[in-house]
Symmetry: D2
Subunit: 279 residues, 4 copies
Amino acid sequence: MDFLKIAEKYRVVFFDAYGVLKSSSGILAGLQATLDGLQERGIEFYILSNDASRSPQEMAAAYSLHGIEQLGEERNISSGIMARDFLQAKVKQGKVAYLGKPNSAYYIESAGLEAVPISEIDIHQADGIKALVFLDDDGFDWYQDLNKALNLLLRKNMPAIVANSDHSYPASLDESAIAIGSLAEMVEKIVGKNFIFFGKPDSQIFSYGFELAKQNLKDLQKQDILMVGDTLTTDIIGGNKFGIDTMLVLSGNTLPQKARLQIKTTGIIPTHICTSIVS
Amino acid sequence: MDFLKIAEKYRVVFFDAYGVLKSSSGILAGLQATLDGLQERGIEFYILSNDASRSPQEMAAAYSLHGIEQLGEERNISSGIMARDFLQAKVKQGKVAYLGKPNSAYYIESAGLEAVPISEIDIHQADGIKALVFLDDDGFDWYQDLNKALNLLLRKNMPAIVANSDHSYPASLDESAIAIGSLAEMVEKIVGKNFIFFGKPDSQIFSYGFELAKQNLKDLQKQDILMVGDTLTTDIIGGNKFGIDTMLVLSGNTLPQKARLQIKTTGIIPTHICTSIVS
Amino acid sequence: MDFLKIAEKYRVVFFDAYGVLKSSSGILAGLQATLDGLQERGIEFYILSNDASRSPQEMAAAYSLHGIEQLGEERNISSGIMARDFLQAKVKQGKVAYLGKPNSAYYIESAGLEAVPISEIDIHQADGIKALVFLDDDGFDWYQDLNKALNLLLRKNMPAIVANSDHSYPASLDESAIAIGSLAEMVEKIVGKNFIFFGKPDSQIFSYGFELAKQNLKDLQKQDILMVGDTLTTDIIGGNKFGIDTMLVLSGNTLPQKARLQIKTTGIIPTHICTSIVS
Amino acid sequence: MDFLKIAEKYRVVFFDAYGVLKSSSGILAGLQATLDGLQERGIEFYILSNDASRSPQEMAAAYSLHGIEQLGEERNISSGIMARDFLQAKVKQGKVAYLGKPNSAYYIESAGLEAVPISEIDIHQADGIKALVFLDDDGFDWYQDLNKALNLLLRKNMPAIVANSDHSYPASLDESAIAIGSLAEMVEKIVGKNFIFFGKPDSQIFSYGFELAKQNLKDLQKQDILMVGDTLTTDIIGGNKFGIDTMLVLSGNTLPQKARLQIKTTGIIPTHICTSIVS
């Protein structure tokens, strides 16, 4: 069924990014037309993504590069933002060690904290380190730095924050990659302490999106919102639990020929199913 | 340190109920004075509890019975309310099977749905059943009804909702009891489908409390709120993750002589520690 | 392919019981002919089952009742026997509390210990209790006795033994039942201590069968043995890991139309697949 | 209490290696005297270790280098040997991909198979690859090669074997390191298939040691054997479950000041506790 036909029953659409708006080969052809269609119908839209690899500005710039100007930084709500808000509220000041690319350090620095790559930390002199953040799977030496993270947490009691709880992601059309959420869970199990994970299916990012949308639409209700995602275990169960309608698209993680079986075996039931948001 | 001395730095206090306001022997002596102290200082308070065993009215009545009138139903926010809102938004109409006491069916009925005890369900004629809710550990035959719940979920794809994710609770001064969250997790593992769990540490109940408090205090910020609880793995990590300050009290699950060790081994660090909310 | 055609390449066959030799409607028609066929070919056979609900004598009697005399008690190797050997070696003397039918107490009593149903235990006077054994899902009040087991283990440090690690079992042609392994895991998680689980896929029962078979066939090698089972996650992965050949039969837990998919999704690859051991 | 005083009640001693016979600073001073003491008393001994980083010959050579000749290769029973026997029995021929040091490939090659480092595998042409083995945390590029292992297993159904199930190990006096068992579990969770894990606490390595010891002592019983280890969750629970007596030594993973608490919190109860095997 046509995406816009379904979407026009709602006032706000939340999109997952990867597998919905873009793929390993880039922005979906036809995305511009779909966004125009939403705007013509007066429907607001936001991106809710599990991602802390780069800043909202950089996320927006990647769309802008392809001529799409409607997905500005204020619409790019990521699990990284949830982590940043946590750091701001709970850590307040000092040095924060991180695993990830230099770009991903944005989520520490924009909280007013000093971001230090774990590689530059001396675990024997870690008194000034206030927290450790798992941001992205890229940008560090897994062997050296995961072992260093383990020993830092074994020595000093500090919050360990995971800014993207995803276990894997599609690295190309036919390859998967281990995501930072998996690496963090592995270290958590060895350390034996409770890490703090951010990202769908947890409801916090949905609350954030809801609050943001309400700033423009004062009387917005949950039933006015549609979450569109390609992954049952994050987008769909998260949206369901938050109490909003959900649409599974078959342009990403969930292959068309497997959708029915996966819905049955997981028990996660989307409100709608649609091939893609583009026609 | 004195509870009120710490509390007066905040505008709103969220209390866990069991282990904080009451114990197996009843309401804490001195609770009235503490609530009066908060009101004198203009501090609002709400209860955030993992509980779907009875309605907010009944929860309020239990305090009222002891002369405490400031904890009315509108202040009793429970995981049951989260489940009710989910049912209302996502199931909408029809029959909903449940495990729990007749009293706990409130959370289905107040969503405008028909609550049917699992014992009355014929799993061979389950077409009309729209969802299954795990409400409370009491009020049903564990052997008969847990097996029936298992077979209902194996036969028909429907949402399984857990209205209280707690694993155990104190049944008396020196005895624990298996809570509905444990029973639900056991069935979930056998069925192999994803159940939807409500309750602390999940952030949804904190969001709900925050929104409610903002209705009276428009400019309320997260830093204005203190979560007071006796359990590190629900109250404290949940409050921390939501971005509010937390206080561990030693009047319930966390024994005074074990608090420091448990903070160290779990890595869950409360903002404050206080013997009790009464002096 | 014909079972005996495959079996004749081996010197010893290990059978799972339920789903292989019998079903909820009783002994498989044709079982006698298959066992005769094995004996004509000089092939030894044993039963390796996850079961502690009754003694080997009673297991043998159930076959004898249907005229099958070749499955005597000495051929009925069960997870209960593993638990009995543990109790004999490690507990040695005293009282042992249990959850299960009176019949299942055989595995405690034959270890020279005194079996006491958990319902008869006073947890306030539990000094004489040396261990707790989870034997069978039947024969006790789940609500009363699981809570009592929980509190016994919280009060006194003692070994907790699970004599059958299965999570569920087929209760009839179209119904499943929660098995004692699931109940034990639930209590283990709340108590936070390490229980000792017996049963396939753990290699201990395979070692036991191998040693027993070697008593008659001194030069027996692992490659001479075929494990026949209906469950990938117990019979087949257990046999594979122990280093013997495995045959998946489609007469029980693994339905014919789902076998290929389940092999692919679990990654558990049997050496052979056969519709049934009877033709 | 003196180790030899306890040991002389047994006919065979199984030693864990790391934390018992050696530490990060090398062989324990006094080990020679202890082994001499055992031999004077006619007590046999074997090493049962979770290790697939190098061959039994190399393990023996490391003791020999320090003048200890009684710990020859035939006494070095490792989880690697269990994996080798599995490969020999179940894979039989062809190429086997591995993660680990070149030295650890011994456990593939001595099974008569061709060992290929995962880095040399082209996952697009993986038809000839019969299995994947996780041998050791060292000797490969974690980022490149763990992602490659993930994609190999997602593309082709093959057994995934973990030759050492340990989660972490002491890298130096005050540092821990992530072990191959943790890395394998992380990949297993993403792939969603069942890997085959070898090593204590699983009983297979104890069975192997028992069989080996019986070759010299025909009438050896389980009660004649003492397992000596420094880790409750591998050495002690494994030995307990196998039905032999166990001794916890405080020279490794379990610190003297924490032993009692850890026994209580884990519920894993050693038969004996001893500071060290040397006096």
